[in-house]
């Protein structure tokens, strides 16, 4: 069924289809339900709160509506404004007929009209008149009989009647989790599931992921939706969140810097709802979002009285309408969130909230469904959403602790500003990680060259060798190592939470598996793998620390047959390799990891944007000797300015060191180095900047001081020079003025060389 050419009219969607990001796959999946040949019975969409599932359904509606001659889309949202199941059912029938006839008449204006059933009958095309009339008459008769169940079934069965008469529809039902609030003898959710299962036309049933299936099941164990697919709708990925924020900012005229855009995407956890809310708030108040400070000011305003405040506040109010117990709820929520482990027994909650059992159960269901707290069998756990936690902290301080508003605002602003670079650093570290988890999951008894896991052999054979030599050498290796088969892979922290103190979750993984096809105790093995940060080959001291850490995790978890594997970007010193061998541990460099990944069929990462300028400007990707391209460019500029040859060499060298510095010291998200060359009468000013968070010089890496990582090389008069960390010193010696500056999300180095000095 070809879509209508050149028309992208909006019917229900709130966003133009070209601006709807990150849900392409789900949109296609829903649209694919339309053709007759698709035998799928439907989909259950389990949505995270604030994930924009409603807009996904509305976009799906529009997409289907634009396709002439195909199945007619119907969008129905269960609403808490319906007082009872009968009114919800009646509204369903009315909506069903309105949307179906609107599509079949190609009359989008009808979708937003509110015709009566009799008026709809008048509008029905001849081909549909008979079944529409039959439905209207049956409905009027059922209303007269006063049998609630029959009425509900009749209304929800409309798609089946239409399908039987050749009018195929795709019924999109939103907010199904709200069905359990409808009053009546029948379970609207369960009736809806039954209708969907027997309609003979596809249904999409969407609702909050923690509640939808329960509501659709009603009193039964499961909703009986055999043949339905299940799709999860979570937050958007980083890239999609950034696109959404940039697009919204551009369309609403809000100035948004790239750094702040990334903070928006990260802090709002990819929630389309929250991103929309913040950008709309910026538009409405005329605020710009050029810096972290701009954004956090607006964010704090929103937490205290804007859209974020209203969103979370309305759920709390719904959970506990009365003021005094609501204060109790805020207190216990805050105490749970700030308690060690974030868990409190259910009985303690019930006592603190002081609500009747039925009221308490309703409140907990609501908090659990909206993921403001997690209800387990015996305890309540705090949920980690950043915006929610910030709202909770602010509300507690204002309404329970009754602190002065100015103090709460100031503290929150300062705290969010301090945390922003840390949070982004964490994100960049995650993005820059090797991907140990992914790689370990691919372990499936493959045999790989042993040198890939024994760095001493790898260094001896391949360090400094050309790719062709490496490839030929690998093929010729006779000693092969058999990998285990991965059964389960998770982070160290998920087994042993204290390991979070020394390692990011992405950089430390535990594989449970077997090292032989026979699944027996004797073949069970646990691999503990960790990425070690070191600019040079990791030394013995660093390796010792890491082997000790992993062994402690193994002991604490009671792992018996254990294999330790360390990965260090530049590999390991000879002494460190000896230690690895003594302990029967494996060690690999990043290069070896990449070779291993390509052997196991794993893949790599993407790339982003560009910049203009009046002065000379260029951006280069980090790595792959690209600094030499920058050096050649600056050489041409310096020649044009008639610098002396010696000065030109110094400028080139300084630029090369600045590029190396930018690559090595930033956890850059875009992996680009931005350079500007400003020519003035008597000087050349070069600015080198990069995004990402600067690792403070001299800061310990993974808890190990730099001195230990320098493998014994010290710096000082009469002693051996240290091996790395000269970048800035060199640049200062080569250029006349050097300024190093940390900006919101990265660093900027300004270097000046005077023409006659």
């Amino acid at each position: 069924m070809p879509p209508r050419a050149g028309k992208t009219r909006r019917v229900l969607a709130r966003t133009a289809p070209e601006h709807f990001v990150g849900r392409g796959e789900q949109l296609r999946e829903i649209a694919a339900l339309a053709p007759h040949r698709n035998e799928a019975r439907g989909l259950v969409l389990l949505a995270a709160p604030l994930s924009g599932a409603s807009e996904l359904l509305r976009q799906s509606f529009d997409e289907l509506f634009r396709t002439r001659g195909g199945a007619s889309p119907v969008y129905f949202a269960v609403s808490r404004t319906d007082p009872a199941t009968t009114s919800a059912a009646r509204r369903f029938l009315l909506t069903f007929l309105t949307h179906t006839l609107a599509h079949r008449r190609d009359d989008p204006a009808l979708v937003s009209a509110s015709p009566t059933l009799r008026a709809l009958l008048e509008l029905a095309p001849p081909a549909d008149y008979e079944w529409v009339e039959r439905l209207v008459q049956s409905f009027e008769a059922a209303v007269g009989e006063g049998d609630e169940r029959s009425l509900v079934r009749l209304c929800l069965g409309a798609p089946q009647v239409a399908a039987a008469r050749g009018a195929r529809t795709v019924v999109l039902v939103d907010d199904v989790h709200l069905a359990d609030a409808l009053k009546g003898e029948t379970h609207f959710g369960a009736e809806l599931a039954q209708a969907a299962a027997h309609a003979g036309t596809p249904f999409v049933l969407a609702g909050l992921r923690r509640r939808a299936l329960d509501v659709l099941s009603g009193p039964a164990v499961s909703p009986g939706l055999e043949g339905f697919g299940v799709e999860h709708v979570g937050g958007l990925g980083e890239q999609d969140s950034r696109s959404l924020a940039s697009g919204l900012a551009e369309r609403s005229g809000v100035a948004l810097s790239e750094e702040t855009r990334d903070l928006v995407a990260h802090q709002l956890e990819g929630s389309p709802y929250l991103i929309h809310a913040m950008l709309e708030a910026a538009r409405a108040s005329g605020a710009s979002l050029r810096s972290f400070r701009d954004f956090q000011k607006l964010y704090v305003d929103e937490l205290l009285g804007g859209r974020l405040h209203r969103r979370f506040g309305s759920i709390i109010e719904e959970a506990v309408p009365a003021l005094a117990p609501r204060r109790n709820l805020l207190r216990v929520l805050h105490e749970t969130a700030t308690s060690v482990g974030g868990k409190v027994p259910v009985e303690a909650w019930q006592r603190r909230v002081d609500a009747a059992p039925a009221e308490f159960a309703r409140m907990m269901r609501l908090l659990h469904a909206h993921e403001l707290a997690t209800l387990h069998a015996t305890y309540v756990e705090a949920t980690p959403g950043q915006a929610w936690r910030d709202y909770l902290r602010v509300s507690y301080r204002l309404h329970v602790a009754v602190e002065p508003r100015a103090l709460v605002v100031a503290d929150t602003l300062v705290e969010t500003l301090k945390r922003a670079p840390r949070a982004l650093a964490r994100q960049y570290r995650r993005a820059a990680a090797f991907g140990l988890h992914k790689l370990l999951r691919r372990f499936d008894f493959q045999r790989v060259p042993a040198s890939l896991l024994h760095y001493d052999r790898f260094a001896r054979s391949y360090r400094g060798a050309s790719p062709e030599e490496v490839s030929a050498g690998m093929e010729a290796e006779t000693e092969l190592l058999r990998l285990p088969q991965a059964i389960h892979v998770a982070s160290c922290a998920s087994f042993h939470p204290p390991s979070r103190q020394f390692c990011d979750e992405e950089r430390c993984a535990v594989l449970h598996g077997f090292d032989s096809e026979s699944y027996a105790d004797t073949n069970e093995v646990v691999w503990l793998a960790a990425e070690v940060e070191s600019k040079l080959e990791a030394g013995r001291a660093l390796v010792e620390v890491w082997l000790e850490r992993l062994s402690q995790v193994a002991d604490a978890c009671g792992f018996e047959r254990v294999r330790l594997w360390l990965v260090s970007p530049e590999g390991f010193t000879d002494e460190a390799c000896e230690l690895l061998n003594e302990r029967g541990a494996y060690g690999s460099s990043r290069h070896a990891m990449e070779l291993l990944a390509s052997r196991l069929g794993a893949e790599a990462a993407p790339a982003p944007p560009t910049a203009p300028a009046n002065e000379f400007a260029m951006e280069i990707p980090m790595g792959d000797e690209t600094e030499i391209i920058a050096a050649h460019t600056v050489e041409q500029i310096a020649r044009r300015m008639e610098f002396r040859p010696e000065a030109i060499t110094q400028i080139k060298h300084a630029l090369i060191e600045a590029c190396i510095n930018a690559s090595e010291h930033s956890l850059s998200p875009d992996r680009k180095i931005y350079q500007r060359f400003r020519l003035e009468d008597d000087k050349l000013v070069i600015t080198v900047s990069s995004r990402g968070v600067t690792l403070p010089a001299g800061a310990p890496e993974n808890g190990v001081p730099h001195a230990e990582q320098n493998n014994g090389h010290e710096n000082g008069e009469g002693s051996r020079p240290k091996r790395r960390g000269w970048g800035l010193k060199l640049i200062r010696s080569l250029m006349d003025d050097v300024e190093f500056e940390r900006v919101d999300d990265g660093t900027r180095l300004r270097m000046t060389k005077y023409l006659h000095k």
């Binding site: 051996r720 020079p721 060199l730």
Partner: protein, 127 residues
């Protein structure tokens, strides 16, 4: 023993027990590792002295310097000597600044380097 002109780093047969290694035009991580590899192979093959020729080397970046320091360490642990030759003025200044000149001998040319090494004949097998 006049070297062929600068190009990618390549080893050369020198006097017995001496290897001449050409640094190439830009000593960065990649070239530095190649130099390191050549030096290691030569030392494992029995060389007792390494001459690293910087003819045509325009720049040595800080990663290259760190790898050269690794070569110096490696040679020292095997009691071998290292001489740098044909250094540009800029590179000499760089090595001075970073303290490498305290650790290696420097010579104008490979011949001068070999002459320097001759003074340490007992170290060189075959002499």
């Amino acid at each position: 023993m006049e070297p062929e002109l600068p190009g990618p780093p390549a080893p050369s047969e020198g006097a017995a027990g001496v290897a001449i290694i050409y640094a190439g035009d830009y000593v960065n991580k990649l070239n530095g590792q190649r130099i390191e590899r050549e030096c290691r192979l030569r030392l494992e093959g029995g060389c007792r002295a390494l001459v690293i020729n910087f003819r045509g080397t325009e720049l040595v970046n800080s990663i290259g310097v760190s790898l050269l320091l690794g070569v110096i360490d490696m040679a020292e642990s095997r009691e071998a000597r290292v001489v740098f030759t044909n250094l540009s003025r800029h590179t000499v200044k760089l090595f001075e600044l970073l303290g490498l000149t305290r650790l290696v001998a420097m010579a104008e040319s490979d011949e001068a380097a070999l002459a320097t090494l001759e003074e340490f004949t007992p170290l060189l097998p075959g002499h």
